[in-house]
């Protein structure tokens, strides 16, 4: 995720720097090229968490489509783009060959498993990679360690606990943003923006010592400061998603 870097590495002699960085990336695997079905599913997915989805860099995995004419592949990729998803590449495979990548204007990427194994994976239900599609595949049973932040989260800072829960020992200042795929606990005053279950987990909770937030969100549903009543603000609050409503209760 981006963090603040106001001209941090400026040196008059170096105009550019090339750096290797690791990043986690979500893979969007398509199992159908059927226009109507895709439209419906993509719309629903985007509507669930529009802010997050629109900014999330995605790699397309086309292997589930099987052999298709080039034109149809291009139309399908374009269809995903039109829904507002930000594509940064295509996972290399048997379907996604170099000419396909070139035609879409996207680089071919080799992710995780080596490209040779792509064929073997093709028919089997895939176990890896967080999948933004509502898939029947079971959730990975591995425990993601909870991220614990002992310093106060200051204005302008952003902290994202990907794939798990987040505990903030201090305050979350106005102008700061904390996000987690799971639950969020804040043991100081919560004044900033707090988003739990950002990848759609509707059962995520937010617990806080004192609620005075600018925005609270669970699973893509949110309430801004204006919609939080004075009576709902205060000490020891639990924030849950009930149906489509963000509910604030005292613990």
């Amino acid at each position: 995720m981006p963090s603040e870097a106001p001209g941090a590495s400026r040196e008059s002699v170096r105009a550019i720097e090339l750096k290797g960085r690791m990043m986690l990336v979500s893979v969007l695997r398509l199992n159908t090229a059927d226009a109507a079905e895709l439209d419906a599913v993509l719309d629903a997915r985007m509507a669930e968490a529009p802010d997050l989805m629109r900014d999330m860099p995605l790699v397309m995995d086309l292997e589930g489509l099987g052999p298709l004419p080039m034109a149809e592949l291009l139309v399908t990729v374009e269809r995903v783009r039109r829904h507002g998803f930000k594509l940064i590449g295509i996972q290399q495979g048997e379907v996604a060959t170099a000419p396909v990548g070139e035609a879409c204007g996207l680089p071919l990427l080799v992710l995780g498993a080596k490209s040779g194994e792509a064929a073997a994976r093709k028919s089997a239900p895939e176990p890896a990679a967080p999948e933004p599609r509502a898939a029947p595949a079971p959730a990975p049973a591995v425990h993601t360690p909870t991220r614990v932040v002992t310093q106060p989260v200051r204005s302008g800072q952003q902290i994202y606990a990907r794939g798990g829960d987040l505990i903030v020992m201090g305050a979350v200042s106005a102008g700061a943003e904390v996000l987690a795929d799971g639950h969020i606990h804040v043991y100081g005053t919560m004044r900033g923006r707090v988003l739990a279950g950002v990848r759609g987990l509707a059962t995520a909770h937010i617990y806080c010592r004192r609620l005075d937030a600018e925005l609270i969100s669970i699973g893509g549903h949110y309430r801004i400061a204006e919609d939080i009543l004075d009576s709902e603000r205060g000490e020891n609050r639990l924030i849950t998603l009930v149906g489509e409503t963000i509910r604030i209760t005292e613990i």
Partner: protein, 269 residues
């Protein structure tokens, strides 16, 4: 080795330069050899507040570029022993401050001084980053109003990650808060955040509370650091802050509304 302290805030006009001048003068008065460095390249002010603007020959950027040596550029204060000023350049821009150059100059000064006070420019751009990069500790100057407190919060976040110490994994440098232009009367009327409000939001130690005072304006206009005006409330508050900076434990003064009693009104004290 000198202790390097940066005076910073994020927001402009809250009293960074006044504070840098007062702290440096206060430390020198305590017999500590102190230099105060103006990092606000292009908008130099510190020499005015220190009343030495007519003696500027060379500046910080000249020293960085090797056009002058430190001895030539440092201005010895006429009023206070042990005090030296390194003015900013008026004609260059902030790009003249290179990480390497600033490091070299501060390193050379470190050998000679007990304290180096860095007066940061406003904002969170390059000049401000450079002023805090080599600091051992920070004083964040804040006015008791929402936007100033928000900017200070932002600056505290930057101090936690963008100093040399932080980059070397030595953790965040110690940062303390100096609240300026505090007016208990306006706090009582609800026009201003109280000390408790500010501390609740920023949750850091308070090194001093400087009352809103005509003395500060007079001091700036006459080029005499307010800490030398020992009669004034602001001057005394700065003297307290300097003492706390040096490790003394002093209670905060001028933080509550003085209700004038009968005799007070009678004699108009």
């Amino acid at each position: 080795m000198a202790r390097i302290v940066v005076i910073t805030s994020g927001k402009g006009g809250v009293g960074k330069t006044t504070t840098a001048a007062a702290l440096a003068t206060g430390l020198a008065m305590q017999g500590r050899k102190t230099a105060v460095v103006d990092f606000d390249v292009g908008l130099r002010n510190l020499d005015l507040i220190m009343g030495c603007e007519r003696r500027v020959v060379y500046d910080f950027v000249n020293v960085i570029n090797g056009d002058a040596n430190l001895r030539q550029a440092l201005i010895k204060d006429k009023r206070t022993e042990n005090l030296f000023i390194l003015p900013a350049s008026q004609t260059r821009d902030k790009d003249a401050l290179t990480t390497e150059g600033v490091g070299r100059v501060l390193d050379e000064m470190s050998r000679e001084f007990d304290f180096i006070v860095c007066d940061s420019p406003a904002g969170i751009e390059w000049g401000a980053l450079m002023a805090s990069y080599y600091a051992d500790e920070a004083i964040v100057v804040t006015n008791p109003e929402v936007s100033s407190v928000r900017d200070s919060d932002r600056m505290l976040g930057i101090l936690a990650s963008k100093t040399k110490r932080a980059e070397q994994g030595e953790g965040a440098i110690e940062a303390r808060l100096l609240l300026t232009r505090y007016s208990p009367a306006r706090v009582e009327k609800g026009e201003m955040l109280s000390i408790e409000d500010v501390q609740d939001i920023l949750s850091i130690d308070m090194i001093g509370v400087i009352p809103e005072s005509q003395a500060v304006l007079n001091a700036s206009n006459s080029g005499v650091p307010v800490v030398l005006d020992e009669e004034s409330d602001a001057g005394q508050a700065y003297i307290d802050a300097v003492a706390r900076f040096l490790g003394e434990d002093r209670p905060h003064r001028f933080t509550t509304l003085q209700k004038r009693g009968f005799f007070g009104r009678l004699f108009g004290s």
